[in-house]
């Protein structure tokens, strides 16, 4: 009896030993697997606590030395936003409910891709990684007993995806710009870049010395006009990406101008937008140097580029005539744009735009007025270039009779047909001439009340600026009146 019992005990012990050994081997194997895999693997019980037997990498991923028995959500605190912790809690609670479909729930996993923040011992931020948590139900006897989770560091994939997206965006933008740029003659593009840079410099100067430029509102006006000029020049060359940026800029400026009182911090969006334009210009420079080698073989020249200045003026005349219901015959057979030295192209264009605007708005009469005065109802604007060894010049002539200025000029004309040169020695005649020029170039002394006041002020301020530029270029301006027939502006610029 005793022997039988001993035998049974011995067998039982041996069986138990064998089971233990199997289990031990299983445990060692499991530990080996959990120690070797690069993912974090763990099981969550119904209280959302991490169970014994998790992969060693999990400690690194969750940045915690001892995870067994820890509540999962507490490990997420300060690592991910609170909102995400709350939704993870809901999601995992749902995962334990067997009336809900696991596949559907997986779509709602808030931790499928999450930025995980790491801190040092004292709670200071160290770094962050992108982690992906995938949860699966563990079912025994048709019951959900726990949840198994794998965690993977997807930072490099995420980083790569982001870089790819960024690079795609960047390339797309560059191609768009490149296509735009390739359509423009390099010389015009160069000129355009210079114009924008000049405008940006003017804005910078005004921002840095607001008092010298007449205070915040004046600075704002300077910026509005500079942005308008950038927009106009970009539109002429069909550089839409710059035009669009300028339009957005203009909208922001409009908002600021609507304010009753402008303060320094109102300029913050302007400066940020300026920064964007500066960066854009830098990229254009890079693109320009890239296309330098193959530009001519690739581009299709647009016809109008050869006569860009005259076509711009022609369009402007057309627009203004529609607006003012006036009629103008534009003659430019003697205007040869190829004679204009490169460095003066922009100033010539700007001067012509300003003069055209001013002439149509304030000097040329309506067809009815002209008819009543026994004149051709269609007025004439003529352009002409001239050249010698030292100077280049152009003439802008029109046969409009300015209602108010005409009276002032009459004094000069009565004296004799006169050539009034700003640089002449001061005598009565030239003083009157200077007064006339003042009318054009000084907004504050504007005696006219014709047309829209803001528009007139704008033109006069633009004129003042163009005149300043003309002086910088070493140029001179002259107005000549010959009887009542015409008024002629002569602009001379040194060739070198």
């Amino acid at each position: 009896m005793m022997n039988k019992m001993q035998e049974n005990i011995s067998k039982l012990t041996s069986d138990l030993q064998s089971i233990y050994e199997d289990l031990e081997q299983e445990r060692v194997r499991t530990n080996l697997i959990l120690g070797a895999i690069s993912e974090g693997v763990f099981m969550l019980d119904r209280k959302f606590c991490i169970q014994e037997g998790y992969s060693s990498n999990l400690k690194d991923l969750l940045n915690h030395p001892d995870l067994a028995g820890r509540e999962f959500f507490s490990l997420l605190e300060n690592r991910i936003p609170e909102d995400n912790i709350r939704s993870t809690q809901e999601y995992l609670e749902f995962l334990f409910r067997d009336d809900l479909d696991e596949e559907t729930l997986n779509e709602l996993n808030p931790l499928s891709k999450i930025e995980f923040h790491y801190e040092d011992q004292s709670g200071l931020w160290l770094s962050s990684r992108f982690l992906s948590f995938i949860f699966k139900r563990v079912i025994q006897d048709n019951k959900i007993v726990s949840i198994i989770c794998t965690v993977k560091d997807i930072s490099s994939e995420e980083d790569l995806t982001r870089k790819l997206e960024e690079s795609e965006r960047y390339n797309k933008k560059q191609i768009e710009w490149l296509v735009n740029i390739l359509h423009v003659k390099p010389i015009l593009l160069q000129e355009f870049v210079k114009v924008v840079e000049d405008e940006l410099k003017e804005i910078d100067d005004a921002l840095k010395n607001p008092i010298d430029f007449g205070g915040y509102n004046s600075v704002l006006n300077i910026i509005v006009r500079a942005v308008h000029r950038i927009k106009r020049n970009a539109a002429i060359l069909d550089l839409n990406f710059i035009k669009d940026q300028a339009v957005r800029f203009k909208d922001e400026l409009d908002q600021i101008q609507k304010k009753k009182e402008v303060s320094g911090s109102d300029f913050v969006p302007i400066v940020v937008r300026l920064g964007d334009i500066r960066m854009m210009m830098q990229e254009i420079h890079t693109l320009m140097s890239r296309v330098k080698h193959f530009k001519n073989s690739l581009r299709t020249t647009r016809k109008y580029e050869d006569g860009l200045i005259t076509s711009t003026i022609s369009e402007l005349i057309e627009e203004l005539c529609i607006e003012t219901k006036k009629k103008v015959n534009f003659k430019y057979e003697d205007f040869n744009s190829e004679e204009i030295p490169f460095q003066h192209q922009q100033i010539v264009k700007e001067f012509l735009i300003i003069l055209t605007k001013f002439t149509i708005l304030h000097s040329i009469e309506t067809p009815e007025q002209r008819r009543a005065a026994n004149h051709n109802p269609e007025a004439t604007i003529e352009l002409e270039t001239f050249n010698d060894d030292i100077n280049f010049g152009f003439k802008f002539r029109h046969d409009g009779r300015l209602i108010r200025i005409e009276r002032m000029l009459q004094k000069v004309i009565d004296a004799r047909d006169a050539a009034i040169d700003e640089e002449d020695p001061i005598d009565e005649k030239s003083q009157l001439g200077s007064e006339v020029l003042q009318l054009f170039f000084t907004p504050t002394s504007n005696p006219m009340h014709i047309g829209d006041v803001n528009d007139t002020d704008g033109i006069l301020q633009d004129m003042q600026m163009v005149k300043k530029k003309l002086t910088l270029h070493g140029g001179r301006s002259k107005i000549t009146f010959t009887s009542e027939e015409y008024c002629e502006y002569t602009i001379t610029l040194p060739k070198k």
């Binding site: 300060n78 011992q121 004292s122 709670g123 200071l124």
Partner: protein, 128 residues
């Protein structure tokens, strides 16, 4: 307690140390030490055993939160008032979690500093 409470001021800015010293002089405290960085703070803390410490966070050598943790390890009863420009809630909560009893954001007014310090003194007096 009839004697004065021992105070230590830790801040890398001389001017802030002076401002705190000036404002807290009206209280029943004895300034036993001042320190300009985390390392110096811990050395002086061990030497002088202050009961109250005003502590900056952004400091050279050792940041204030590490110093705070060490101080609490050395003397769990010490009352630490964190005075910092790091005004985000997370930093404040972290400091409280680590054992700070009060949190004052820079820039502070004299009133705010004094009020917070008074509360800290009350805690010390009531033996919390």
């Amino acid at each position: 307690m009839s004697g004065k409470f021992k105070l230590m001021i830790v801040d890398d800015s001389t001017i802030i140390r002076k401002v705190i010293e000036k404002n807290l002089a009206i209280f029943n405290v004895e300034l036993v030490a001042m320190a300009a960085d985390g390392k110096e703070a811990l050395e002086k803390f061990k030497e002088t055993s202050p009961q109250i410490v005003t502590l900056d966070i952004t400091m050279p050598e050792m940041d204030g939160l590490t110093v705070l943790e060490e101080m609490i390890n050395i003397d769990p009863k010490v009352k630490v008032m964190v005075v910092t420009a790091l005004s985000d809630k997370a930093t404040g909560l972290k400091a409280i979690k680590l054992g700070a009893k009060s949190f004052v954001g820079k820039p502070f007014t004299e009133e705010k500093l004094k009020e917070s310090f008074q509360n800290l003194l009350n805690q010390l007096k009531s033996g919390e």
